[in-house]
Amino acid sequence: MPVLEFEHISKRYRSLFREERWALRDFSLLLEAGEIVGFLGPNGAGKTTAINIAVGLVHATSGSGTLLGKEFGEVSARRRVGFLPESPAYYHRNARATLKMCGALNGLREPELSRRASQLLAAVGLDDEAERNVGKFSRGMLQRVGVAQAFINDPDLLILDEPTSALDPISRLHIRRLLLDARNRGKSVFLSSHQLSEIELLCDRIFFVQAGRVVAAGSTGELLRSSEACEITVSNTNGLPASAVDIQRQADQTTFTIPVSEQRAAIEQIWAAGGTLIRVARKTKSLEEVFIDVMNGNSGERTP
């Protein structure tokens, strides 16, 4: 059973004096249990809108979807979800009380409530600030409170809208640990971000969104390997294949790139010319390259 499913969801925002705007158009996505899935797209792509629809804060104009098997908007499903809003804001009280309030709203009771609050404050590195008023917290600290409260009910599904956008490297590490640990315990994580490095480190699968649609999807490994080029390094040769590009010469070594389909012919040609093969490697893309390709519409793996 999918833990989260969007089926042909469209969302139109209307306001009195501004023109209407489609934040999502026929948006479909399916999230299976037990993985960390990244939701990647430029600003304004519709990530926050999709997430807000899933947790029932916003209603779809058309289409439907399920959260842990229940229609969007059902209270009982939300009780088993941990949610971090894009810019979290809390009542002015101390961090511990904030966490406990959030847990209580999800039906958690003492002594579990206190135990988990302390545990999570430590996990996000806020144990020394637990009794301080969150109204005086920096943006990064608030975000950590936000992540901690998302975990308070030990949710089956975590939905995090840009969880690391304001964080320093140490805090990012804390949160990465929490998320990986959750995944290893069979929980599912759905996180949006435009920080590619974070997604690359964490996610098993990536959905690319652009202008309110999923434009590409795939496992992180596949996407990074999805390059159709290979890089060859040779020495003692002058005759390079005609299709070689990106040619770099260093001492007696030459490195060039050719399409994978011509790899074999190129190697044979070099051997025939008496050259020495030093290295052949399938070129991997950085997630940044994949992202830019996808956004420019050059992706091989499109979903309908």
């Binding site: 029932g56 804060l57 979800v81 949610f83 979290p88 804001a89 959030c102 999800n106």
Partner: protein, 228 residues
Amino acid sequence: MRAVLLLAGSFIRQNRWLMLAFVGWPFLMSAFEWSPHHAVNLDDVNAIVQQEVFYGLAIADFLASAAIYNEKRSRRIAGVLSKGVSRAQYLLGLIAGSTVFGGVYFVAIAVSVMWLLGPSSSELHRVAVLIICGLVASGWVAALAVLFSVVLHPILAAAIAGIIAFAPLAMTGTSIFLPLTVLVRGMTSLSARNFEWPSILIALVETAIFVLVSSPLFQRSDVAVNLE
């Protein structure tokens, strides 16, 4: 139920300083009125109570009608409604919070009046009328204000709810369907010694109707919107 109590508690906690100020107000008024040399004038006390009751209901109107807007603007609503909390529970929490706010204030009025007039059994009864009717009336006003604030800008909501609640009070006569006309008269008149049960009942029923109408309206609205 627990969620409603938590939300009501949170609402009161947020408004605790305002509540403290309101609780102090009747005592301040009584202190001005009190004199060691002569007995207090009942008509004066009556006028003061009348004014204090009006303030209590007005603040319930303002707090309740501004609550959703403030929570949206501060984005705190997202942290609450994304939890295991239904929209109806959220509204009930707000109304309960506003009602308790009013209730505490009416207890303060009652105690300050007792202090002026001296405790006697007839005064105790009068005080009970004041508190019970005050609670019911605050709940009624708060539910009405919340109903309008679900669909309108809070200032407009407060104004409309205020007009519906208070305009009939300026006229003579009472209407059974405008329970405030009966309840407020009972609370502010020294001769009223009895609970107006029919009006209390009608007020409670109407409060329930306001909640039943506002819940589906609120259910349909987006709460994570840019208000700017």
